[in-house]
Symmetry: C2
Subunit: 386 residues, 2 copies
């Protein structure tokens, strides 16, 4: 890789490249330091205290009084946990799909032999609550509905609150993947009556990948307790039992280093104030959108109101090649993401979650602008055409 010592790169050389992908995100110095602590026993009082402190504060982030568990697994593990604990073969599960990650719910439901009912939107659009209502009315005995709050592959946020009213009116369980938005966006689990809500560690919590979080409502427990669960590592009943032990623990050895990181990251979030953290995410998201639009680029989501607050998806400018473009951006010190699956080459994505501030957005936008200029993209003309 050609190293170009411009001011952007110099700025970030001390801490390596600036990672602006939709997770993992860069970590705070204190979080990095927290992880160089020696091991302790996973069944000790000390781990129990750490675990309890983390779980209690995660519940505040989730705005829930439901049970909440920490799984040593990436977000997909939590998605599997949600479904494996409630699906028996033939159960009707309504999966709302509008991108790669919402489609993953469908794939997992199929592995567990659910009878999947699908309500889709085009990639780039959000789920239409009316279509969810129509599908529920048509299919009757739907056991659970899956919704991806923040579809990381398309930069779209789905209307979970509206969908919840419909789902709860129908009496089904509501499973929400908030893996890449919990902590950065307003997702009040109890107010929105989310039965199983999932989050990931390497997104807004700004710790490394390896943990996922899942909250479980009383209504979900009623179903889980009646279900022949096809889960062992992800059997939520064992997590509940272990968390109730003295000292509190996990059924299988927890990734202790990540617990050190989580404890530190939650300190940072609570010091800043949870509402302030969310406001900051909204603010950097708007800055990002305004910045790319000002360059004459187009957002991928079909309407700005449905844009995610943690990842901005932008249509690849005409004549610009994905790999070459992102390599150029990287030469200017910033790592961004391309599109996934059918969006490969069609979009690029900027993650702005966790510890991201205006400063990192400025650096990122400058790097993107510089990359486009390097590639002779008619930036000025594009600006004039606005």
């Amino acid at each position: 890789m050609r190293v170009k010592l411009n001011h952007v790169r110099c700025y970030y050389m001390a801490r390596e490249e600036l990672l602006m992908i939709p997770g993992p995100t860069f970590l705070a110095e204190s979080t990095l330091k927290a992880m160089s602590r020696q091991m302790i026993s996973h069944r000790s009082k000390e781990t129990g205290t750490l675990l309890t402190r983390c779980v209690e504060r995660l519940k505040e982030v989730f705005r829930t009084e439901n049970d909440l568990f920490i799984l040593t697994a990436s977000g997909t593990g939590a998605m599997e946990a949600a479904l494996a604990n409630i699906v028996e073969p033939g159960d009707k599960i309504l999966c709302t799909t509008c991108g790669k990650f919402s489609e993953r719910f469908k794939k997992i439901a199929e592995v567990f032999e659910a009878n999947v009912v699908e309500v889709s939107s085009e990639w780039g659009d959000a789920i239409n609550p009316e279509q969810v209502k129509a599908a529920l009315d048509e299919h009757g005995d739907v056991k659970a509905v899956t919704v991806t709050h923040n579809e990381t592959s398309t930069g779209v946020k789905n209307p979970v609150e509206e969908i919840s009213r419909i789902v709860k009116n129908h009496g089904a369980l509501l499973i929400v993947d908030a893996i890449s938005s919990m902590g950065g966006d307003h997702i009040p689990v109890d107010e929105w009556k989310i039965d199983l809500c999932l989050a990931g560690s390497q997104k807004c919590f700004a710790i490394p990948p390896g943990f996922s979080f899942i909250s479980v409502s009383d209504e979900a427990w009623e179903v889980i307790n009646k279900t022949k669960r096809r889960a062992f590592y992800f059997d939520l009943v064992s997590y509940k039992k272990s968390l109730g032990k003295s000292p509190p623990q996990t059924p299988y050895t927890i990734a202790i280093t990540l617990l050190y990181a989580l404890d530190d990251a939650l300190n940072l979030m609570f010091d800043e104030g949870l509402d302030n953290v969310i406001a900051r995410h909204h603010s950097v998201a708007k800055l990002t959108r305004d910045g790319v639009k000002a360059m004459g680029l187009e957002l991928f989501p079909v309407r700005e109101e449905i844009c995610s607050v943690t990842v901005t998806a932008v249509k690849m400018p005409e004549g610009i090649k994905d790999q070459e473009f992102r390599q150029k951006v990287r030469e200017h010190g910033v790592v961004i993401s391309g599109g996934q699956d059918k969006l490969t080459g069609e979009i690029f994505r900027i993650g702005h979650m966790g510890r991201v501030t205006e400063r990192e957005i400025d650096i990122t936008l400058k790097a993107i602008k510089q990359a486009l200029l390097d590639l002779k993209f008619p930036l000025r003309e594009a600006l004039l055409q606005r």
Copy 2:
């Protein structure tokens, strides 16, 4: 906790207590430092290079040319992966049980609706290969046999090589849990024809918990490819597909910090020499056994030949209470483990895996001796009676 500033404690104060449980084990300073590195993209070339370098060296540790995958999950996740990928409802699975962890295989097999055939030994004894042969002869169409190489709950090592000859003669798959022994003991996967072999990160590899490793033979793939797998997060086919991509990757976000740690830990193991690492484990195990026997204590395993090289289980001395005893040992700066399940209060366990040397065994034995003296255990008399 009363802090007693004796020489043992002082020695280890700088790096906190000496953790001598059967995993997690204490980490090398370089491994701790490796984890304070900033995040990188999980789909980057750099992660691909790291992953490949780790997988290739893990294969050398496993002494295998089979596929090998890194799972972001504790060892139990790898146990589930082994079974979920090959078991269809009603399949006959022979589970050999002789402690808590070997029984876990049986529980997982039951979750996946296997028709479980059990061959057990008393806790403290090893599996008798002749009984495995008799069960296979009796039950005919057994699809796979599970064996726990190192039963961490009882400190017993099972005769995998002998069992393998019987299992392979029968044509079943051999699944071996080497979670707490791989790297520390001689377990040549290809020579012993182990189809699915599992290891854990927080044991002999001396990195934090959160990773598990699984090797998959060609024969296992033949079965997996024909099996309707009830796994998503642990679907081995997706791991194989992702590792074959450019850059090599995992299907779901890998715990990057643990990959940094693993890379460092493998450097240390290869610098020392894999055979030397194993010889050191054998040597510290013998030191530990000789030390406790010299105090007049009794090993829990029924014969010394079947003693584990990574964990020594010792009968709780008469009149000594578990909690009080281990608390005393801790006051002398060392953390050891008690018994699990039905062995609670009956035994204590000393883990000696990973970076453990003669120095740590000396400290541990001294702490145990001191604790017994504190509790007025007739140590001298016991020694005289020998």
